[in-house]
């Protein structure tokens, strides 16, 4: 018996990539999944950080998809290489700091490199023409194939019949008639196909799987770049943008205020990197200070920290201030009144 052809499927954890892989598996192709971790992935992080989500069963949807399909899933850390996509997107940003077209090109390119290293034959994605305004348009889908280097080894099984035949179709590895011609934003054809395959409880589309599509997150990232004077970032930077209230009371420093116990616990891991403070006379948040921290900044931040504590109406709140070297001192401060916090301090 001939060895089956081998395909690597980009598995995001959403319905489309799950279906695309399954459609190809139906044709006797050996499929393995690949999932890329950029650091901006929504997947899992907010569950892990926030206390209120802890009781909710949590799963990695890409791994869940792989289990449904019965395939291996290779999760690849692309945090470092992905920075160039975020900082210098050749095709620009979408509505926020989401470089969707460059991102898709980059990921397909990485999948193509993986394919060549592992002796696989072609790449599968769950793209559907017209599904996304930037990366999944009729005019941009050929750009992804071309600029990624995947060329005609890139197969989009859900909309293949709306596109020119690819190598696997021309070579007879795939029967084009058994691929699909979905297009547009409607999810009904995918939901019908999911029902046909018996897939239930799949991840619902919820406005993207990437924090860069989120307006507030993008504003915080822009603020980080602007105040540092460079668009560089590391994983800790982008993780901390997912956590807490962010306030910039002065141009040269920012406060990250834990909103609940889960966030406070997560932020504790950063105590050695930041000057930080916590109320000790009343229950209150852990606060990290980022930037130029002089005595005036500490005084102002302490009054704000008191404001976010249970002692907000007290005359005085005692705040413990800790420096990066492990030293600490206490300050008794008056909580700043709510109407003295300008709205534009909130990032």
């Amino acid at each position: 018996m001939n060895n089956p052809r081998k395909a690597v499927a980009l598995i995001s954890g959403g319905l489309d990539s799950l279906l695309a892989a399954r459609v190809v598996m139906e044709q006797g192709v050996h499929v393995e999944g690949i999932n890329f971790f950029t650091g901006f992935c929504v997947e899992g992080h907010t569950h892990a950080i926030r206390e209120k989500d802890r009781a909710r069963p949590k799963r990695n949807n890409a791994l869940w998809s792989a289990e449904q399909l019965g395939i291996k899933l290779h999760i690849v850390d692309i945090i470092e290489e992905y920075k160039d996509v975020v900082i210098n997107p050749k095709h620009g940003y979408g509505a926020n700091l989401n470089p969707c077209l460059d991102c898709k090109i980059f990921m397909v390119n990485k999948a193509h490199e993986w394919l060549e290293a592992h002796g696989f034959d072609f790449i599968i994605t769950g793209e559907v023409i017209g599904q996304r305004p930037m990366s999944q348009r009729k005019d941009t889908m050929p750009v992804v194939a071309r600029d990624s280097g995947a060329g005609d080894r890139l197969v989009r099984p859900l909309c293949a019949r709306n596109l020119p035949p690819t190598l696997p179709e021309l070579e007879g590895w795939l029967d084009r008639d058994k691929l699909f011609g979905f297009n547009g934003r409607s999810r009904k054809p995918q939901m019908a196909l999911a029902a046909q395959y018996g897939f239930e409880d799949y991840a619902q589309p919820a406005g993207g799987c990437c924090f860069l599509t989120d307006k507030q997150y993008s504003v915080k990232l822009e603020d980080l770049w602007k105040t540092r004077g460079t668009r560089e970032y590391d994983l800790d930077d982008i993780m901390l943008l997912k956590v807490g209230r962010h306030l910039r009371p002065r141009a040269d420093f920012k406060m990250i205020v834990g909103r609940e116990e889960g966030e406070n616990r997560f932020m504790e891991g950063y105590r050695k990197r930041f000057v930080h403070m916590i109320p000790v006379s009343h229950v209150g948040p852990l606060v990290l200070l980022d930037g130029e921290i002089d005595d005036a900044a500490i005084e102002l931040a302490a009054r704000l920290t008191a404001r976010f504590s249970k002692g907000r109406d007290a005359e005085l709140v005692t705040i413990e201030v800790n420096n990066r070297k492990g030293g600490s001192h206490r300050l008794d401060v008056t909580p700043i009144p709510a109407d003295e916090i300008p709205a534009d301090w909130y990032i």
Binding site: C41, H45, A48, K58, L63, E67, I71, I75, D77, M239
Partner: protein, 77 residues
Amino acid sequence: MSETRVDARNLLCPMPVIRTQDAVAGCAPGDRVSVWCTDPGVVYDIPAWCRVHGHAVCDIRQGENEIIIEIQVGETD
């Protein structure tokens, strides 16, 4: 048969899964890998990753702030 310890503490998923994957890649069938984590999500994600790759989870020990997952490496390719 070797034993490898992976320190994935203070990392959020999927990083502990990626660290586990990297450690297992250098192991032979039957080797043991223990993964030390703090993200509670690992009790779902690492066993799921093991299931799709054919490795066995031998034990999951959960302390107040630390989770240790013991894995026996299955057939690798």
